[in-house]
């Protein structure tokens, strides 16, 4: 019996292997192979259109960290990521709790909030570029009250202090981009949280209420802690979107005056495909990969431990 089972398993495994093999090969070549190739290029002197694979050491990385634009990129990415994730999580959580109150027409609301996700970032970028344009869109309305927000053309750095060659602080222009990104992605966190809330059995909340907890305490002490794994997933997914973001910003603001809305993705594209600085571009790409890895690797590590 046992031997038969073992044999059957290995046959299943064999078919599984046959079917998995093509994608494994493709992934090895086209993902890991190309990552290694990019890493190799980032250490070379390939900075013109004429290939030059000679070893340059960390020259390209050093260049970047001394570069005004790249420092601004890192600053922008940091503040964009923090703001974007915080607002997406808060808004998604609040909206999902509201929707969870057995609202009438819940499915209509759910669809309204989810629809922006059906658009691509490039469309969102074009739409919000117009909505927040300093001389059209929302500003026509604000002008009635004598306010003239500059949105993404604002070059001021809020609460900034001089750090090296850049002003370190929250670039005001980033707020406009965050609004657009949040508009697009809140539906996702809403859906995740709603699923999470539905997964928490009513009996748990009832038990808490029986113990005399107020509705506020039920949420703080019972519901929110149970939503923690979902928050983790939302953070991971939003973090990798925001660290790699390109299309939204490309369509909406471009690099911005003084690079206040520039991000590594834009810089990578322009360096590589306009300037033909292939090694510098590869170095930016590798840094972006490392930034994403900072978020993803602990998560993967954690979930692997969970499996065991």
């Amino acid at each position: 019996m046992q031997s038969k089972r073992k044999k059957k398993l290995s046959k299943d495994q064999l078919t599984a292997m046959v079917f998995l093999l093509p994608s494994i090969i493709f992934i090895i070549v086209f993902v890991y192979g190309f990552i290694s190739w990019t890493g190799y290029i980032s250490l070379s002197n390939y900075n013109t259109i004429v290939p030059d694979f000679s070893f340059a050491g960390l020259k390209n990385y050093l260049y970047l960290f001394n570069d005004f634009r790249f420092r601004a990129d890192l600053r922008n990415t940091l503040f964009f990521t923090i703001l974007f994730i915080a607002v997406v999580i808060l808004l998604g959580l609040v909206l999902s709790i509201l929707l969870d109150q057995k609202t009438k027409g819940e499915s209509i609301f759910r669809n309204i909030f989810l629809f922006p996700m059906a658009l691509s970032f490039i469309v969102t970028g074009v739409v919000w570029q117009w909505l927040l344009h300093p001389s059209t869109g929302f500003n026509k309305f604000f002008n009635l009250f004598g306010i003239q927000p500059k949105w993404y053309t604002d070059t001021t750095i809020l609460a900034g202090f001089k750090w090296g060659s850049i002003e370190f602080g929250l670039p005001a222009a980033i707020i406009a981009v965050v609004i657009a990104a949040v508009w697009q992605m809140t539906g996702f966190s809403l859906a995740m949280y709603l699923a999470g809330l539905r997964g928490i059995g009513d009996e748990l909340r009832e038990a808490a209420r029986m113990d005399g907890a107020t509705e506020f305490q039920v949420y703080m002490k019972v519901v929110l802690p149970l939503l923690l794994p979902i928050t983790m997933s939302v953070v991971i997914i939003m973090a990798h979107i925001s660290l790699k973001i390109f299309d939204l910003i490309y369509a909406m603001t471009g690099s911005g005056a003084n690079f206040v809305t520039d991000v590594p993705g834009l810089y990578m594209f322009e360096t590589t495909f306009r300037g033909n600085y292939y090694a510098n571009g590869a170095a930016i790409a590798i840094i972006m990969l490392l930034l994403v890895a900072i978020f993803i690797v602990p998560y993967l590590w954690n979930s692997r431990k969970g499996d065991n």
Partner: protein, 437 residues
Amino acid sequence: MKKFFGLFVLLALALVVSACTSDSNQESTSDPGSTDKPKDTSADKGEESSVEIFSWWTGAGEEDGLLALISLFNELHPEIKIENAAVAGGAGTNAKAVLATRMQGNDPPSTFQVHGGEELNKSWVAADKMAPLNDLYEANGWMDKFPDALIEMVSNGDNIYSVPVNVHRGNVIFYNMEVFKEHGIEVPTTLDEFFAVADKLQAAGVVPLSLGDKESWEATQIFENVLAAELGRDDYLKLFAGEIDFTDARVVAAAEKFGEILDYVNEDHASRNWQDSAQLVAEGKAAMINMGDWAKGYFVNDLKLVTNEDFGYFAFPGTVGDFAVITDTFGLPKGIENVEATKQFLTVLGSVEGQDAFNPLKGSIPARVDADPSKYDAYGKDTIEDFKTANLFPSLAHGSAASEGFVTKANQAVNIFVTQRDVQNFVDALQNAAPDM
């Protein structure tokens, strides 16, 4: 399970076979077999009968021009099939990325659009990817049909590498005639006069100069014209040949004047592209704009304005008698199979007929000096006249004066300068990038 696997293999095979057949279909349709033009087809043997033209001409006027050129070619050479491989995207951003991939993967298009000057020389010629076209120039007697300065821009050493089809002028200022009349303003010819005019306009509540630098090249274009005004054409050329440093006092002066000019632009310039900023001039909210003459096409074709009634034009102050050249050219990549057919296309491209079919629609002027001026509007006629007599200098913003790498870094430096106005930083950044020219 075995059956399943067999099915899988079958499916894969079917895919491969269908891919092959669609390939061979393409070949058979492109095979002409007709040889009613014996003079051209002597070398054409079936497989050499199609030409793939790679460009970024997908916008309104430029696409019309390209299609007119293709239909002229089809008339002259019905046996050669044209594949229009245009890639959309402003100023060739996307097309250049696609082209780089194809060139480096040894799959070049038959011929491709490239700006004359360093964009051609410092990349494709330097990478040894282009075939010289001297024989084509000699066979067609082109050596005295294009201005020497233009031929020099598409040459490296003794070899000529591409055929210019059009010329755009970069040092033009278009202005709203009504605004000028209303405020009693004369056309400025020097930078000092320009500043006087700008003060007057600003005092009257009109934006003197419209700028849309959502992408930096619009501002870089202003800077290059100030450079030409300060240095003069000859020293401008020396600057980009590396014989004069960017720390030269006159470059510093140019940077300072560039900064002064930026005091006269519209506040929301960072959110506008060049069309949006040209609109300000059309609406009379701004008085002037420094833009290549594609802006004329935009005024006339899209905004229905009348040349010399609604808007006028003059050379950028301080560069009267100079001509910032932006030229689109087509070359012959090495390693393509249909060399003869491609040369036929380049021949048409460089002919009077070809240039006159293309340029009136595109809004540019012909690169040849003997084209027919009657086919062009008032602006075109004026510019054709200027082009014959003016001192030509290559544009930096459009990749003619320096390599794409330098242009990218210069745009970056300009972007920072527009906000920070730190002349020293700006000049240093340019000097640091100078080895990449």
